[in-house]
Amino acid sequence: EPEVTQTPSHQVTQMGQEVILRCVPISNHLYFYWYRQILGQKVEFLVSFYNNEISEKSEIFDDQFSVERPDGSNFTLKIRSTKLEDSAMYFCASTELGVVTTGELFFGEGSRLTVL
């Protein structure tokens, strides 16, 4: 069964360092998402991405964050100059459908980021 894969599963970094989280969406999917879940809190939407550009982003997704689809398979989330409050589980998701649809989101198992 196709699945979304994320790497690394866990990353520890020092405050101020840059982090790149990688995701390989399901191959025929066209829409990609990043969500994060701070420990003990709700899952929060960060950004959606379609046709090589951001289609929507939340207030959380400020200039510190960026996303990229550098090739036909990877979808990355870059966090510049990490802060303590960036510590969270980051989930990548993809779907073959988008706006005005009801497509299921397929999630990866998450990348846990710990900022020290």
């Binding site: 979304v4 829409y31 998402y33 969500y35 809190q41 709700k42 899952v43 929060e44 939407f45 959606s48 379609y50 289609s55 929507e56 939340s58 989930f91 998701a93 988008g98 706006v99 005005v100 009801t102 299921e104 989101l105 397929f106 999630f107 990866g108 198992e109 998450g110």
Partner: protein
């Protein structure tokens, strides 16, 4: 704009008894509604979804949910809980006209032996 409220942060039931996890939503348009489950140290798995077809939706592992527009609810139920059902459950709403999908805060289900 849409929102979703999960009324209980924790629910405890005994094995073999019914499960009820409550969810209320708010949406400007006809929403799509989902329940996802997250087992410890695992990703998010779809349990079931409502997409304007039948109001009673059956999902995996014996779960089902009923869409009630008059009550703006989409509660998740299971007739008989199993120990393996212990997990975090998220009610999710997706509006008709945007890509954003909103998660509830989650309900942690505890199964007592």
């Amino acid at each position: 704009a849409q929102s979703v409220t999960q009324l209980d942060s924790h629910v405890s039931v005994s094995e073999g008894t019914p499960v009820l996890l409550r969810c209320n939503y708010s949406s400007s348009y006809s929403p799509s509604l989902f329940w996802y489950v997250q087992h410890p140290n695992k990703g998010l798995q779809l349990l079931l979804k409502y997409t304007s077809a039948a109001t009673l939706v059956k999902g995996i592992n014996g779960f089902e949910a009923e869409f009630k527009k008059s009550e703006t609810s989409f509660h998740l139920t299971k007739p008989s809980a199993h120990m393996s059902d212990a997990a975090e459950y998220f009610c999710v709403v997706r509006g008709l006209l945007d890509d954003k999908i909103i998660f509830g805060k989650g309900t942690r289900l505890h199964i007592l032996p």
